[in-house]
Symmetry: C2
Subunit: 244 residues, 2 copies
Amino acid sequence: MSKPQALIFDVFGTVVDWRSGVAAEAGRFLAGKGIDLDPFAFADAWRGEYQPTMERVRSGGRGYVALDILHRENLDLVLERFGLSGLFSDEEKAEFNRAWEKLPPWPDSAPGLTRLKQDFLIAPCSNGSLALMARLAKFGSLPWDAILGADIARNYKPQPEVYLASCQALQLAPREVMMVAAHPSDLDAAKACGLQTAFVPRPLEYGSSHGSDTQGEHHVGMNRREEWDAAAGTIEILAEILMT
Amino acid sequence: MSKPQALIFDVFGTVVDWRSGVAAEAGRFLAGKGIDLDPFAFADAWRGEYQPTMERVRSGGRGYVALDILHRENLDLVLERFGLSGLFSDEEKAEFNRAWEKLPPWPDSAPGLTRLKQDFLIAPCSNGSLALMARLAKFGSLPWDAILGADIARNYKPQPEVYLASCQALQLAPREVMMVAAHPSDLDAAKACGLQTAFVPRPLEYGSSHGSDTQGEHHVGMNRREEWDAAAGTIEILAEILMT
């Protein structure tokens, strides 16, 4: 491993706990209408539409649209599935959609990034839009140097152009950039583009019920840890590894 | 004036003192070769090529290239003009070109931005590239939320698409965004796109010799202060005005 110049990060799951954040907002909105529904089930259903809708963009079936718009469309789908469509006005649904701007970072994220920022350029390389990433960073005090990812590439990970456009925007070669993610598939795609890779397992991404699931991505990633340039239990530990 | 959601900033001259920074690096490089030349004259000559080279891109005579490349080409031009071309290797010239990544912020910039960041999204809307802006922010501890401007629009200010693409990236309407600049022409172009405007005069941008020049942009801007939504002597004062 040669020391990278920049570290770029997956965000949903790797830097922030999207499931708790979306469930908290869903709980608030559902309770406000007197609806008795498990907010985590709602969060999981909403997130469940994430890959299929992006896939239409990746495959060229639909031009690039920001993830915020896909989230908003998927909110309609999920509300309809739960029989709740008529209960929310358009303004309320727009506000509900902002749940994705209010996702708590994992406890090590902000301190780890703050430390890494001393030595490296750090930026999200997420499928979230620049607008969403900027608001999420403000919410969680994430000290990014810039915002890269889907919006600047106008496509979605794991399409290679998202990683390559992110390196190019920093005027760095792929080998000078390290992708950090909790998902092996994200690291595989980055590695295929020539980036360095760091794995940070997030066993609680899908809640504690998955904590003992040995088929989870955190297990897969750890079992494959020889394939990544670095692997660390938290972003703070990653900073220790890279900065010593 | 309705309260904006985001403030976007001109950088060269408005946030950082490009002339002192470039002169400091030029002085170091010239002295290293035993060349006796006023580093401020060198800085002014280098910056003098800035508008003409960008104009070729704006007019469509050349596709978009990042400002770093234009700076590098202009360095060749200026070295040649001073009869110094043969004295620097390509590696030295690449390093010399990084002078633009080491520009000191005006004393009020980092504290003013840090304060503004509490209430607003803040981002550069500069002709500098994302890579240059990210490195400059690190050098001067400028706490941007995102980096907007020429690179994301793939054109140069004052072309309207640079301001409009910056608003769009934040998913805000132009009226929700305020452009902050020391140059009336930049504010005129932003205003024509529907953005709010704030003028921050920088009488020392071209050195103290221009301090008594009543034709300078800082005088023009102050004389036209009724035309801007806000005018403030420093970014810290701008924060006081907008946050009370």
